[in-house]
């Protein structure tokens, strides 16, 4: 029987992890909402952002957090280009399938180029505060994990405000809900979709920076992330940002707690188990996700 302290510690670790999952899954949900696109390359860009943070830290000693000044706008632009230049060229009838392949191809490209540029060696940023921790009622919280979690919360909050409180947010939500109707209302849905994609990729930039603070990175790491993230967006209900966030927190927590009795490897299977159960019994997802019914 695990001790109370270990349980408490695991709950905290699970929530911290869940926060990061929530941020990353929100980006994936956004793409799906806007264009019905399952964006396989999302986590490849995540790793790319982490590599940029690592490279800047290694070469000019820049703190990873500052690298976001560059990577966030850069990724926004890349997302815009990806949507305009590639995805919008696909035939609408086969968009869902072909977009998966196209983003899969982009993921391979990013992975291959990262491997080419930085080799397959595992990298990690050595921060002065990397091993520091805080005490919280007997549990320890690593400073870097707390920063990563803070980043996720701030980014998610900003995204929420943007969606709820700005004209662009309204247009974006209208486009997600009903594209044709939005167009009739005079919304330039093409442009909104492009910006939405940029926004999604910008979350990958923030997530990648958060990731680089505390874990090792290597080019093929993105496969390790895309699986859980896809499970999260299905469990949360395809297209629902709050659903994805709730699913992310719950699954992150479950993974962390299951590690105690089952070990690291088996604990990861919870994501896929949840995915299969959701699709078999409640394909629209457990937390909203009106869109999932049809896709």
């Amino acid at each position: 029987m695990p001790s109370g302290a270990l349980l408490f510690q695991s709950v905290i670790l699970g929530l911290l992890l869940g926060g990061l999952y929530a941020l990353l899954a929100s980006g994936l949900t956004l793409y799906f909402g806007i264009m019905r696109v399952v964006m396989i390359a999302h986590s490849a860009f995540l790793i790319l952002a982490a590599y940029l943070a690592w490279w800047l830290h290694e070469n000019i000693g820049l703190d990873p957090l500052l690298s976001m000044i560059g990577t966030v706008p850069l990724f926004f632009g890349a997302g815009l280009l990806l949507q305009r230049g590639l995805l919008s060229r696909l035939r609408p009838a086969t968009l869902t399938m072909m977009s998966v392949l196209l983003t899969f191809a982009v993921a391979l490209l990013v992975e291959g180029l990262l491997g080419y540029a930085f080799s397959g060696t595992q990298r990690r940023i050595n921060l002065g505060y990397g091993s520091a921790g805080l005490d919280l009622f007997g549990a320890r919280i690593a400073v870097v994990k707390l920063i990563a979690f803070g980043l996720a919360v701030v980014a998610l909050g900003t995204l929420w405000l943007l969606m709820k409180r700005t004209r662009f947010g309204w247009a974006l939500r209208a486009t997600i809900q009903h594209r044709d109707a939005a167009r009739l209302l005079g919304i330039d849905t093409e442009r909104v979709a492009g910006y939405g994609f940029g926004l999604g990729l910008a979350t990958a930039a923030i997530g990648g920076t958060a990731l680089s603070l505390d874990t090792t990175i290597y080019p093929s790491l993105h496969w390790h992330w895309i699986g859980p993230l896809m499970a999260i967006i299905v469990v949360g209900g395809l297209g629902s940002v709050p659903g994805a966030a709730i699913a992310a927190l719950l699954l992150g927590l479950a993974q962390s707690l299951l590690q105690i009795p089952m070990g690291t490897t088996w604990a990861q299977t919870i994501f896929y188990l949840a995915l299969f159960v959701t699709l078999a019994f409640r394909p629209q997802g457990f937390f909203g996700g009106r869109l999932a019914q049809r896709f």
Partner: protein, 407 residues
């Protein structure tokens, strides 16, 4: 059936035929190389993928060996030429590579790739073409359980015996000092697990209780869960069956949780030149087994260190030494047998190695009938900002430090 679809199908056939034939045709130019040309040695190494880092280390070892041999006039008066292919850390590829090296490139000798996962399939190819197979990296005991008759592991000890000296030392401590509990965390890899479980077996037999026993997949990047378990169990001894980065990550995660073991041993990771910086210079007292030391007094070692450093600008580490040792073993066999080509010569080489001892940079090596070397590894420890040999007693550079200072 419309004309269009017929055309399409017809052109498939045409394409298929021409490609099949071109695949066959573009590969016929292998020449018979036995005789007085250079001795070609085929190697497949993981230069990309999961094992790229150690793979490149072994490559340097092989290259250094070829250069030193050639500078000294070659083998049997013939120059040595290496053909190195990349197997992308992939078992399918490693097999295809050795097929290509033996069947198409007609190399005279083959030597091994890196990592147990790749050594077993590779050794089988070599075995089935009756080639001698000396390998630098398949240290897990599984390699020697396959019934290979052509395989020789060119290092002092197999993974499970790496910690033998340390186990003896721990169990010999006075009862009031001897640790009571131990935690093991090992990568799901035959080599890494082999090292940790070799020690686990011996400590358990000596009455040291196992309180945590974790195995993690090679791609694990988040060690906080495992670290939480170990910290919660407050184990006296920490054993990591690690390669490099996973060991560093585990240590950092344990530091974050404020856990302090009395003894910490990791395979491979602490001998890496970047280890100290990676864990924030809190290395004091960390232990690691090693099969190679730059300061080891074996006859060929000083030449190796000197010339390797001249060639690559940095002194050799264990991976490099393993590659070099493999070369030395093959060279000894070739010199003794007086031949190096495919065919009957290979059996002469195998028979000679089975019966003899070879002097190498990691000491004298000899093998049992499965190709398992009959030695043990030295134990190194970080002391005063440098890693030094502490066990066994007769070659030690510093005294064994116990308990380990806080990190």
């Amino acid at each position: 059936m419309s004309i269009t679809s017929f055309r399409a199908r017809f052109s498939t056939g045409l394409l298929a035929t021409s490609l099949m034939i071109s695949l066959g045709a573009c590969s016929g130019d292998s020449d018979d190389s036995a005789g007085d040309g250079p001795i070609t040695i085929g190697i497949s190494l993981p230069l990309t993928g999961d094992f790229a880092e150690p793979g490149k280390g072994v490559q340097q070892g092989y290259e250094a060996w070829a250069k030193i041999v050639n500078d000294n006039g070659g083998l049997l008066g013939r120059q040595v030429e290496l053909t190195i292919l990349d197997d992308q850390s992939n078992a399918d590829r490693v097999v295809a590579d050795y097929e290509q090296l033996i069947g198409q490139d007609q190399v005279d000798l083959v030597v091994g790739p890196f990592s147990t996962r790749l050594v077993v399939p590779a050794a089988r190819v070599a075995e089935e073409y009756d080639m001698l197979f000396v390998e630098p990296a398949g240290a897990a005991k599984e390699v020697f359980e396959q019934g290979f008759e052509n395989l020789f592991y060119a290092a002092p000890a197999v993974a499970n015996d790496h910690y033998n000296h340390l186990a003896e030392k721990i169990l010999a401590l006075p009862a009031d000092q001897r640790p009571k509990t131990a935690a093991y965390a090992a990568m799901d890899d035959p080599f890494a697990q082999g090292t940790a479980y070799g020690l686990k077996e011996k400590l358990e037999a000596g009455g040291i209780e196992t309180v945590v026993d974790e195995v993690y997949p090679p791609n694990t990047t988040d060690f906080s869960g495992i670290a939480a378990k170990i910290a919660d169990a407050k184990a006296d001894v920490l054993v990591g069956g690690s390669q490099y980065q996973d060991g560093v990550n585990l240590i950092v995660a344990l530091q974050q949780l404020g856990y302090q073991p009395k003894l910490a041993a990791f395979s491979t990771a602490p001998t890496n030149p970047e280890f100290a910086a990676a864990i924030g210079d809190k290395t004091e007292g960390v232990l690691s087994p090693t099969g190679y030391s730059q300061d080891a007094p074996y006859p060929s070692n000083s030449e190796f260190v000197e010339k390797f450093t001249a060639q690559f600008g940095v002194p050799p580490e264990e991976d490099q030494a393993n590659g070099y040792t493999t070369g030395q073993v093959v060279a000894a066999a070739v010199t003794a047998a007086g031949c190096a080509e495919q065919g009957e010569c290979q059996q002469k080489l195998i028979d000679w190695l089975r019966a003899n001892t070879v002097e190498t940079v990691v000491g004298p090596l000899s093998w049992d009938e499965t190709g398992k070397p009959k030695g043990a590894h030295m134990i190194q420890q970080w002391i005063g900002g440098d890693i030094k040999i502490v066990l066994p007693e007769d070659v030690k550079e510093a005294d064994f430090l116990f308990p380990k200072p806080a990190w």
